[in-house]
């Protein structure tokens, strides 16, 4: 399996190129405008991969995405959660769907909470094992934290409902085997997490189950209260960036 993370440490954003060196097929997850479509294509080319899928784990509100540009250059449509409210043609993903790259397979899990259209992707390398090796958790489970539930909703009640959905998504993820590697979409400086968000970009299910102060809360109400209590102000320009990523606006401010 080919595994190449792209970290933007300034904004705390992570994106990933995952591929199968035998089939020559790759998928790019959460491509960043800050990195640029060409960089993903060139890196894939140099790894012997053709970009066969571009997947967004959700419509981002904190940074501009390179998803459309990259997908267009690769001659494909961006894949999103089937409920993603984007205004351009996408390839819709549903729970349980498998993106087959060869022996490397990504399995789609719908993990709403941060947004209604949040996905996680289980990563299998079947040349080594039938069990999942890792999980791309998007903005559902972070290292030390969970994705904030308030950026894509417009009322405090909706934020409570989203936090409750996040509780279920996090529980589902933490039920994976403890050795499964956790690779979220954010770390460090990102405004999509709270005050516990680690500067470390990856972890394991077992470590987070034991030491993630929010994810380990087993009572739904306590989780919702705690998540909402620790909210930071929304990222600067969140609305305009989200609008741009939705395909509704041409230009947004610098990513926060």
């Amino acid at each position: 399996m080919i595994w190449t993370p792209f970290y933007d440490a300034v904004h705390g954003c992570s994106s990933y190129l995952v591929g199968d060196e035998v089939s020559g097929l790759g998928v790019v997850v959460d491509p960043l405008a800050e990195v640029g479509a060409e960089e993903y294509l060139l890196t894939a080319q140099e790894a012997g991969l053709r970009v066969a899928w571009v997947v967004e784990t959700h419509v981002h509100a904190d940074h501009r995405s390179a998803g459309r540009e990259l997908a267009e250059a690769a001659g494909i449509a961006v894949s999103f959660h089937h409920r993603a409210p984007v205004s351009y043609p996408v390839h819709p993903l549903r729970d349980g769907q498998r993106l087959e790259l060869g022996d490397v397979v990504l399995e789609v899990w719908e993990t709403p909470g941060h947004t209604e259209d949040s996905l996680s992707l289980l990563v299998y390398d079947r040349r080594r094992a039938e069990e999942p090796w890792g999980v791309l958790t998007g903005d559902s489970l972070f290292v030390g934290d969970v994705g904030r539930p308030d950026l894509a909703v417009s009322s405090p009640e909706a934020a409570v409902a989203a936090a409750s959905a996040q509780f279920d998504s996090v529980r589902r993820l933490l039920a994976l085997p403890e050795y499964v590697a956790v690779h979220p979409a954010h770390f460090g400086a990102s405004a999509c997490g709270g005050i516990f968000l680690s500067r470390t970009p990856h972890s394991t299910i077992g470590f987070e189950r034991r030491h993630n102060r929010l994810a380990r809360i087993e009572d739904r109400q306590a989780f919702v209260d705690e998540v909402l209590r620790h909210l930071k102000p929304p990222p600067e320009a969140a609305r305009s960036i989200r609008a741009e990523n939705l395909g509704l606006a041409v230009k947004a401010g610098r990513s926060a």
Partner: protein, 210 residues
């Protein structure tokens, strides 16, 4: 200058261009334009290597010119910029890939991939060529495989029987792609063992000690 498949084919047939296929080697081995040379683009040393190669071969300033073949406009343009920068003129580019090429009704040289499971089931129908280096045969060799290191293949090609079907094997499937494409260009019926001996050994298929 981006050209149509037909236009590029014409240029090739008239000996005006040498086509460099900039796609990853695996894509080239799977199917490529007859006569095209595999030169997977990378940002690290590629343009310089092409410049030296152009100087050392007939494709020099008085010989054929370089044309680029790819399946992605952004990558073809990046490769062309790199060559411009190194002072290598590019006469033509084509970025519609094998799909676009075949859609124009033009021929390709194809090397099918063979999985380890397919090969072990039908081993009697294949002559296996292991193109690894001698020290690598210690890890085990597919029973009855011919052992011809990649570098020796060009001058040992007369040992091969054009009526047989050859399965080409290396450690990971990379060198065997190159070897298979080389043989396919010369009219042999070849397949490539996908993933090479790492997959064969990992699957616990039979070996003999090399």
């Amino acid at each position: 200058m981006a050209v149509s498949a037909q236009a590029l084919w014409q240029m090739m047939e008239h000996g005006q261009v040498t086509v460099l296929d900039i796609r990853p080697q695996g894509a080239y081995a799977a199917a490529h334009v007859p006569g095209a040379v595999s030169a997977p683009y990378s940002r690290f040393g590629w343009a310089e290597a092409v410049r030296r190669w152009v100087q050392e071969t007939a494709a020099g300033p008085n010989g054929a010119q370089i044309a680029l073949f790819g399946d992605n406009r952004m990558l073809v343009e990046a490769a062309q910029r790199a060559l411009d920068h190194s002072g290598v003129a590019v006469a033509a580019t084509f970025d519609q890939g094998v799909e676009g090429w075949q859609a124009a009704g033009l021929p390709v040289v194809a090397v099918p991939n063979l999985t380890a499971d397919e090969l072990v089931r039908n081993l009697q129908h294949w002559t296996v060529i292991d193109v690894r280096e001698p020290y690598e045969w210690r890890t085990g060799v597919i029973p009855q495989a011919l052992k011809i290191p990649l570098g020796e293949l060009p001058h040992r090609i007369q040992e091969l029987d054009p009526s047989r079907r050859y399965a080409i094997v290396c450690a990971s499937g990379n060198r065997s792609q190159a070897a298979a494409a080389f043989l396919a260009e010369r009219g042999f019926e070849v397949s490539n063992l996908a993933g090479g001996m790492s997959v064969w050994l990992g699957s616990g298929h039979p070996i003999e000690r090399g």
